[in-house]
C-alpha cells in the first residue's frame, strides 16, 4: 500500500509535469510567490498594518497554496482531460489510495516553495528570521502543505463531476488570501471570516509559524499545528469520499470521459 501511494504518486507527478520546463517551474512556483509576498509586505508597510515579519512568515506559509491546490486539482482532473482516467479507474487497487498518494508530491513541492519564498522574502525585505526557529518553521510549512494538498485533491474530486473545476480552484486560491488571515490581522477581520478561515488550510499553520518567529517555543505552536493537521485530515477524508461517490456516479451515468 505504501509503495502504491508513494511510487504511484511520484510517477504521476512526473508524468503531469513532464511537459513543463525549469523556467516554468522557477517562474511560476518559485518567483511568483516571492513577488506576492513583497507586494503585501509593502502594502502592509504603507498602511502600517502588521510588521514585516507578519507578512513574510504568513505569505511564506501561504506560498504553498498555489502549487498544492492546483496540483491536487490537476492530479485528478487532468487524468480526465488527457484521457487516462479510464485506465486509472480500471486498476484493481484502491483508487482512494492511488489518488491520496497523488497529493504527497505536491505537498513536498509546497514545502520547497514555502522555504524558498521565506528565503526570498527575508533577502528582499531585509528582515532576518531567527535561525533557531527554522526547524520548527519547516514543520509548520510541511503540515500546511499537506493540508493544502488534500484540500486541492478534494477540489480535484469535484472535477470528476463538474466541468468548471478550474474556476473553483482559481477562486479558492484567491479566497485563501482573505480567509487565512495571512494578509489582514485577525482582529481586523469580521467574525464570520475568521470562522470560515478556521476550516481553511494554512490558517492555523500561519498562526503557528508566526508564534515560532516571535520567539515562542514549539510547545506554544502545538495547538495550531494540531488544528492544521485536523483540517488536512478532514479534507483527505472528504477527498476520498468524493472520489468514491463521483467515480460510482460517472460509471453509472457513463460520463467518465465527458468534458
Amino acid at each position: 500500500m505504501l509503495r502504491l501511494i508513494g511510487v504511484g504518486g511520484v510517477i504521476a507527478y512526473r508524468a503531469l509535469f513532464n511537459w513543463t520546463t525549469p523556467a516554468m517551474f522557477i517562474g511560476t512556483l518559485l518567483v511568483g510567490p516571492v513577488f506576492q509576498l513583497v507586494f503585501f509586505a509593502f502594502l502592509g508597510r504603507q498602511l502600517a498594518v502588521g510588521s514585516d515579519h507578519f507578512y513574510i512568515v504568513g505569505n511564506a506559509v501561504l506560498a504553498s497554496s498555489g502549487a498544492c491546490v492546483f496540483g491536487g486539482v490537476m492530479a485528478v482532473s487532468n487524468e480526465r482531460r488527457f484521457g487516462t482516467l479510464g485506465p486509472v479507474l480500471l486498476s484493481p487497487r484502491s483508487r482512494t489510495a492511488v489518488f491520496l498518494g497523488r497529493a504527497l508530491p505536491y505537498a513536498a513541492n509546497g514545502l520547497l516553495i514555502a522555504t524558498t519564498t521565506l528565503l526570498g522574502g527575508v533577502l528582499v525585505m531585509g528582515v532576518p528570521v531567527p535561525a533557531s526557529a527554522l526547524p520548527s518553521l519547516l514543520l509548520a510549512f510541511a503540515i500546511g502543505s499537506v493540508s493544502c494538498a488534500f484540500f486541492g485533491l478534494a477540489l480535484g474530486a469535484i472535477g470528476l463531476r463538474f466541468r468548471d473545476v478550474w474556476l473553483v480552484s482559481n477562486v479558492a486560491v484567491a479566497l485563501m488570501l482573505l480567509l487565512t488571515g495571512v494578509n489582514v490581522p485577525a482582529a481586523a477581520l469580521p467574525d464570520w471570516v475568521r470562522t470560515v478561515g478556521s476550516f481553511v488550510p494554512i490558517t492555523h499553520a500561519a498562526e503557528a509559524a508566526r508564534r515560532l518567529v516571535a520567539g515562542g517555543p514549539l510547545g506554544d505552536s502545538v495547538a495550531p499545528l494540531a488544528a492544521e493537521l485536523v483540517v488536512g485530515v478532514a479534507y483527505a477524508v472528504l477527498a476520498g469520499a468524493l472520489l468514491r461517490i463521483f467515480e460510482a456516479e460517472s460509471r453509472r451515468r457513463a460520463s467518465l470521459d465527458t468534458l
Binding site: 516554468m24 504603507q46 498602511l47 468548471d164 474556476l167 477562486v171 484567491a174 488570501l177 482573505l178
Partner: protein, 256 residues
C-alpha cells in the same frame, strides 16, 4: 473609416466571445471582488485614514491588468489552439489589425472588474462613489482600457516568441500591480523602482484613474499613458509582422 470599423467590429466580436465564457466572466468578477474585500479590510485596519474608494478602484484596475496579462499574453497561442490562427493570418489586412481587437477586448472585459469592485464597495461596505473628477473618471477609464489593449498587443507579439511565456506571465501579475501603484503609491517603494514604473503604461493609467477618483492630476498622466501605449503598439506591430513572416517561412504558424 474601414479601419475604425474593422477594429470596432473585431473588438465587439471578441468581447462577445469572451463574455460567453463562464471562466472568463467569473475570474474577471469574483477574484477582483476578493481582492477588493481584502483591500477594504486592510485600508480599514490602517491607523491612518484611507480613501476606501481608492481601494475599490485599485482592486478593479488590478483585475484589468490580470485580464490583459493572461488574455493578451496568450492571445496568439489561444488562436493557435482553437485552430483559428491560420484563418486570421490569411485575412487581407495587416496582422496587427487582426490581433489588436482581441487584445483590446481582453482589456474591455477587464472593466467588469472595475464595475464589480465599485458596486461591491458601494453595496457591501457603503463606500460613497463620489469621484473627485467625474468627467476625468469617465474619460480616464476608456483611455486606460484602450491603452492597456495596445500594451497587450506588445505582450501578445513578444510572448509568442518565447517558449516560456506562460512562466513570465505568471510572474508579472504582482510586480506590475506593485510598480504601477494600483493599491499603494509608488513613493512607498524603493527609489530604484521609479524608472521601471515610469516606462509602464499601467503606472500612468492607474495614476490617472485613481486621481480622477480620489483627487489629483488626471490629464497629464492620461496623456502619458496613451503616449507610452502608442509606442507599445508600434513595437507590437513590428514584432507581430516579424513573427508572422518567420512563421510563414518556416511553416510553423500552427505549431506551438
Amino acid at each position: 473609416m474601414n479601419l475604425v470599423r474593422l477594429l470596432a467590429v473585431g473588438t465587439w466580436l471578441h468581447v462577445k466571445q469572451l463574455s460567453r465564457s463562464p471562466f472568463e466572466i467569473a475570474t474577471s468578477i469574483l477574484i477582483p471582488l476578493v481582492q477588493a474585500t481584502l483591500a477594504v479590510y486592510l485600508f480599514r485596519a490602517s491607523p491612518q485614514p484611507q480613501a476606501l474608494l481608492g481601494a475599490a478602484v485599485g482592486a478593479g484596475l488590478m483585475g484589468v491588468w490580470s485580464s490583459v496579462l493572461f488574455g493578451s499574453g496568450g492571445a496568439i497561442q489561444r488562436h493557435r489552439w482553437e485552430g483559428t490562427l491560420e484563418i486570421l493570418m490569411l485575412a487581407p489586412r495587416r496582422p496587427v489589425l487582426v490581433i489588436l481587437p482581441f487584445t483590446i477586448a481582453t482589456a474591455v472585459t477587464g472593466t467588469y472588474s472595475i464595475v464589480a469592485t465599485l458596486l461591491w464597495g458601494r453595496l457591501l461596505y457603503g463606500i460613497r462613489l463620489t469621484f473627485a473628477d467625474p468627467l476625468g473618471f469617465v474619460a480616464a477609464v476608456p483611455v486606460c482600457i484602450l491603452s492597456l489593449g495596445m500594451f497587450g498587443l506588445l505582450l501578445a507579439s513578444t510572448f509568442v516568441l518565447m517558449r516560456n511565456a506562460n512562466a513570465l506571465a505568471n510572474t508579472l501579475e504582482y510586480p506590475v500591480w506593485l510598480l504601477s501603484g494600483m493599491l499603494i503609491p509608488i513613493t512607498a517603494l524603493p527609489g530604484w523602482t521609479g524608472p521601471l514604473a515610469a516606462v509602464l503604461p499601467t503606472t500612468w493609467g492607474s495614476r490617472a484613474v485613481r486621481a480622477a477618483a480620489t483627487g489629483g492630476e488626471v490629464w497629464g498622466p492620461l496623456a502619458m499613458c496613451l503616449a507610452i501605449s502608442l509606442v507599445c503598439l508600434a513595437l507590437g506591430a513590428l514584432a507581430l509582422s516579424y513573427v508572422e513572416r518567420r512563421a510563414r517561412a518556416a511553416a510553423t504558424l500552427a505549431l506551438a
